[in-house]
Structures are given as C-alpha cells and as structure tokens.
Amino acid sequence: MEDAQLAALLVRRCVAGDAVAWEEIVQRYHRRIYNLCYRFAGSADDAQDLTQEVFIRMYRTLNSYDVGRGAFMTWVTTLTRNLLVDHFRKTKHDRLTDSLDATTSDHPDAMTLGDRIPDEGPPPDSGVQSRETKETVHEALQKLSPELREAVILRDLQDMDYREIATVLKVPEGTVKSRINRGRAELARLLQRTYRQVM
C-alpha cells in the first residue's frame, strides 16, 4: 500500500476511535516531526516539547484532515510549522538576550563555531562527517532567519518538493525556491566566515 493511502486509512481508523491506528500514526511520524522541530528550534528539549505539542494538536484536529485536499504528510508538516512559528514568536525575547552568549548548543562543553570548523572546510559530501562538524552546521543553521531556515530544512532535510513546501509555507513556488537558494548560500557564508576568522 502506498504511503498516502496507508496514512488516509490510518486517519480514518483513528477518527473512528481506533487507538492502535493512533499509535501507528505516532510511530510513523514522530521521528520526522522531532527532526523538523530539532533542526528548527535548535535544542533537543524544545524539540521534544514541540513534538508532543504537535501530536496533541494533531489528536484534537485529526477529524478536520480532509484526504481530498492533500497528502497527510503535508498536513502534518503544516501543523508542525505553525507550532514552530508560535514557538519562535514566544521565545523571541529569550533569544535576543541569549544571542549575547557565544554558543547556542545544548552541550555544556560545546566549543564555539570557530573552534570546530575544519580548515578549508572539506566539501561536506567528501567523507565521513565528524559529530563536531555536524554540531557546527546545526549551530550555523540556527543563525539563519526563520524564513530561510524553514525553507532549507523542508527541502534539504525533509526532502519535500517545491510544491509541497509552497503549500506548507503558503507562499508561491518561486518564493520557495528563492528562499532555499538564499538559505543555502547564507549557511555556506556563515560557515566560511567562521573558519576564515580562525585562520
């Protein structure tokens, strides 16, 4: 059975009161939602809270999902994204004060961006990435504006196509593409700038 069909079936069963179907939905989508939240919000704790909130909202509004109006995945992503926007607004003040501190990492022993970026930065696809390098990229991602960040996350980490992203973000496809381009370029500039400072 195709993913979309299976999802539609699960939703129908779930709305009819089938707890097993609901658990199946949670099992199938929690990883993806958690990763989306983690990459956008930056911290594992926030990601965990947000993922729970997403499922609570999903549970309450599942009967409003209309199979005819689009893929369940798009609906779920839209739901998640709306919560991420709320979260971003709510934590704006905290972030402004936090930004005075150098690092945004969860780990107390985290080094600054500059400490970890490799010299000359070997192209990321050229080999095994160290945990530190990934952490650095993750940190740099948090420095992007939310509009650019969400666009590149949905495209490059969640592998959504432009049309789906346009539906989730409620902007034209051209805008989506432009944000993805700018987001990717800005990320590369951030990482390059950091390692140039070190040299």
């Binding site: 709305v15 089938d18 099992q27 929690h30 983690y38 990717r184």
Partner: protein
C-alpha cells in the same frame, strides 16, 4: 558590470533556475546559458557555489534519534493508552510482567502528571509526609518498601495486614482521644468556659480540608492521602488495580482529560 544582463540570461532568470540547476534537473540550452552566466556574472557565480556548498553542508546533517520515551509520552498525553499491547490486552496474551507494568503505567500516569503541577506538588509532599508518619507508627518501615513484593496477591496481603495494623492503631488512638476528651469534660465542668474549645477548632479545620477538594477523581485521591492518615496506604489506589483498563480512546473530537494538560513531559521519566 555584475548583475547586469549577460548573454541572454538575466540575474533574476539565473536565480529562478538556480535550484533546478543544483537539483540536476536543468538540461540542454538552458543549462549552457545558465553555466555561461555563472562564469561571467560576479554576483551569480559565487551565489551558485555558495548555494551548492550550503546544500552539501545541510545534506551532511543526518537524522537525529528522538528520545526513547517520546512515543509513550505522546500516547500518554493524547489517547492515554500507553501501547497497543495494552489495548488488545484482553485478546492477545502478553507477558505477565508486561501486563503489570502496563497497569502500573496507566495507574501512575495521571497521578504523576498531576503531581508535576506546582499547585499539587505541595499537597503531594504533605500527603507523603503524613503517609510515612502513619506507616511508621503502624509499624511499616519505608526502607522495607524497597524490598516489597509487588505481586498482586502479596500486595493484597500487605494491604490487609497494613489495614489491620492501621485500624488497630486507629482504635488505640481513639481510645486515647476518648480518655482525653473525658478528662477535658471534667476540667470544663470544673472551670467555667475559659478556653475556646480546642476540639471545635480541630473539627473546623477538618471540615475545611474536606470542603476544599472538589469531586474530581484525582483530587479525591489527593484528599485521601492527606486525610489525617486514618486510611492505609493502598486504600486509595488498590481498587483501581483490577486489571487492564478498558480502552479509553473514544473519539478525536472529545479528547480525554489527560489531553488537556498543559504541562510538558520531557523529563517525565
């Protein structure tokens, strides 16, 4: 001049094709025009390289592992049903230990969720204190609880034993109180109404605590714990130990009370 129309492609056209080019879906004349523009335009050339590099960095980020308890926390806060094993417990024979664990989970979950709320935390602390005092007076050592046999049969046995002891203790206390009140009556008869009746105050206080709690099940439980300790430890929780709860998952439109909880459970376990 960078940014100016070059060849036959403008910078805005280049920008529109950039994602396609990076995706590798650009071909033919459009691709060669695109590559030409990238070579000569001082704005678009670097943009292409940066966008490619940025994409590579992003692709290097692998999926992270969600915390182990995330799914159970979600289920707990939505359907209230811990796992499908629990739901189908009556039909599918599960391991004996697993069933106990499920019951314990379902039993404990609303209590734990409630206890995490600040307004209940204090009451729970007080309840636990009262409980431990009562138990120690009744001859149950808290250190013994660690080694307690948790099989349902032995829990039931412990319950009756504890009940017996507590009832005995209660009877003794009542005896002492009765003697005390007789003595007080003697005193009052001897001296005119000088002291405001202490007993009256105690009664008032008791009534107050009783009136404070509403009819909600969770608060009822809390009240049981904090009530002077004249109920044994398992009196409040044991009746629920009847076996797997029926499926509480009803309709999505009418969420369970557990769903409404606003507190987050990220450090739940």
């Amino acid at each position: 001049m960078p940014g100016k129309e070059d060849n036959r492609m403008s910078c805005s056209e280049f920008d529109a094709l950039l994602s396609q080019a990076i995706d590798g879906t650009l071909a033919g004349d459009r691709l060669s025009e695109f590559e030409n523009h990238a070579r000569v335009c001082k704005l678009c050339g670097p943009l292409l390289h940066e966008a490619e590099a940025g994409r590579s960095w992003l692709k290097s980020l692998t999926e992270v592992e969600p915390p182990d308890q995330l799914v159970s926390n979600i289920l707990l806060r939505t359907s209230g049903v811990l796992s499908s094993r629990h739901v189908t417990g009556e039909h599918v024979p599960t391991s004996w230990l697993g069933r106990i664990r499920n019951w314990a989970g379902v039993l404990a979950s609303p209590v734990v969720v409630m206890a995490r709320q600040p307004r209940f935390a204090m009451s729970f602390g007080m309840a636990f204190f009262t409980l431990s005092v009562t138990l120690s007076l009744a001859g149950v050592k808290l250190s013994d609880l660690r080694h307690m046999d948790l099989r349902p049969s032995s829990i039931r046995r412990t319950y009756y034993e504890t009940t017996g002891r507590v009832v005995k203790y209660y009877e003794n206390i009542r005896f002492v109180y009765e003697i005390e009140s007789r003595v007080r009556q003697f005193k009052e008869a001897a001296t005119p109404a000088e002291q405001p009746s202490e007993q009256q105050n105690n009664n008032d206080r008791k009534n107050k605590t009783k009136n404070d709690t509403s009819g909600q099940p969770d608060q009822k439980q809390e009240r049981n714990y904090s009530q002077e300790g004249n109920r044994p430890i398992f009196a409040a929780s044991l009746p629920i130990y009847r076996g797997p709860e029926p499926v509480r998952f009803s309709t999505v439109g009418a969420p369970e009370p557990t769903v409404v909880s606003v507190t987050t459970c990220r450090r739940f376990s």
